[in-house]
Amino acid sequence: MDTVIELSGVVAVLGQFPALAGIDLAVQRGEIVLLQGPNGAGKTSLLRVCAGLLPIERGTGHVLGIDLATNREAIRSRVGLLGHANGLYLDLTVMQNMQFWASTVGATKSEVDSAMATMRIDGRLARVKASQLSAGQRRRCALASLIVRRAEIWLLDEPHAGLDAAGRDELDALLRSAVSSGATVVLASHERDRALGLATRTVTIDGGGAS
């Protein structure tokens, strides 16, 4: 197994406040790692650091072998971060949203169709504007765009939020399938029981440090 995320003593700052205070973390390819901790513990900041969005102030970090300190922009095209927002265009239909994402990364129509079928947003739903979708349907649409983008590491912040029971089961199956295809998943979730059943390992974050 190779290490796809390797953080050592990483300190990150949001505004004037430390978001991560000397965190150490190593994630192997094919793992599903659950980040748990109270609100404000630094879970979202850790995901943003791993996505190359939040710069590190001190310490060393590598994601997919890329140095976070010197080349974090290069990481972005190889990881997929799904945060609290879904990143959809509300005035576009589901199909138009997916076609847009596909055209930005050069994905084929069959890849789009497959992703939409996997997340059950094909058929009649494909022609519905994103603004008219339920929260769960929007989440499924966002996850489908992540599939189309062929991310190697999936960084998911509360991925189960807004999904119904069937949608949660499908998401779990999708994540297991993605992992079996070579992807790695790091997720933060307050749905402890469900996430524990999914994760291969749990990391607790409190006060910006990991244990």
Binding site: A51, G52, L53, E73, A74, I75, R76, S77, R78, G80, L81, G83, H84, A85, N86, G87, L88, Y89, L90, D91, L92, T93, Q96, F100, S103, T104, V105, G106, K129, A130, R138, S145, R149
Partner: protein, 231 residues
């Protein structure tokens, strides 16, 4: 696929996406264009003199364009921030220069349509008359000024997008910067309209100024848009 091909693909995708959003929502047709037309009518009420209106018609067209442009730019970046889409593009490592180009092209298309409408309104409402040479000069002026306005508008729209109070911040930042376009486009359009006894040939140096502005802000926007949005 080469980097240039990838950038071109993203540029086209973003431009098509923004125009599809406009097509789906009809904000330009149903809200911005009527707003621009109302501004032109209000100018006519305020001045209420055919001679003065014909003399100042070019300035009124471009002032109405600038006011309407603020609404279009706000809209262009509201759709990006409503569900974190611009952030998602940034997270996905999509080339920000290509995003800038795509958004600027979509904005230019919308502005050009709006400007044609405003010129037509000036012709009908203010009784402006143009020769064929004047008409050609007016079209060139619209095209070149639109490129400048579209690029600087996209740059400052992106800058203001993440800021608190962006609705009021954008006009404050943008209007002083586009003053050269207002001056150049108004003078060139005066020449095209023949306002105040000007001739068509007097407009071309002003179009040259507009061209310099357009090239400058296309280049600056392509380079600076990413870092500005990142901040």
């Amino acid at each position: 696929m080469s980097s240039a091909a990838s950038k071109r693909r993203v540029t086209i995708a973003v431009a098509r996406k923004d125009l599809t959003i406009e097509w789906n929502s009809r904000i330009l047709v149903n809200q911005v264009a009527p707003f621009a037309a109302i501004v032109m009518v209000l100018f006519a009420f305020a001045l209420d003199n055919d001679g003065i209106l014909q003399r100042v018609a070019p300035g009124l067209v471009w002032l109405a364009t600038l006011f309407s442009m603020l609404v279009v730019i706000q809209r262009s970046f509201t759709v990006e921030s409503a569900d974190g889409a611009l952030d998602a593009l940034r997270v996905a490592g999509i080339d920000m220069g290509a995003i800038f180009a795509g958004k600027a092209i979509a904005l230019m298309v919308q502005l050009f349509v709006l400007e044609l409408l405003l010129v037509a309104t000036a012709v009908v409402l203010y009784g402006v008359e143009m020769t064929l040479a004047g008409f050609c000069e007016a079209i060139v002026t619209l095209l070149v000024a639109t490129v400048g306005l579209g690029s600087v508008g996209t740059l400052y729209g992106g800058l203001a997008a993440g800021a608190r109070g962006r609705e009021t911040l954008l006009p404050l930042l943008l209007l002083p910067v586009v003053a050269p376009v207002l001056i150049g486009a108004t003078r060139a359009t005066e020449a095209a309209f023949g306002s105040g006894g000007t001739t068509v040939s007097e407009g071309w140096p002003w179009i040259g100024l507009l061209l310099v502005f357009a090239v400058l802000f296309c280049a600056v926007g392509t380079v600076a848009f990413g870092p500005l949005v990142d901040e």
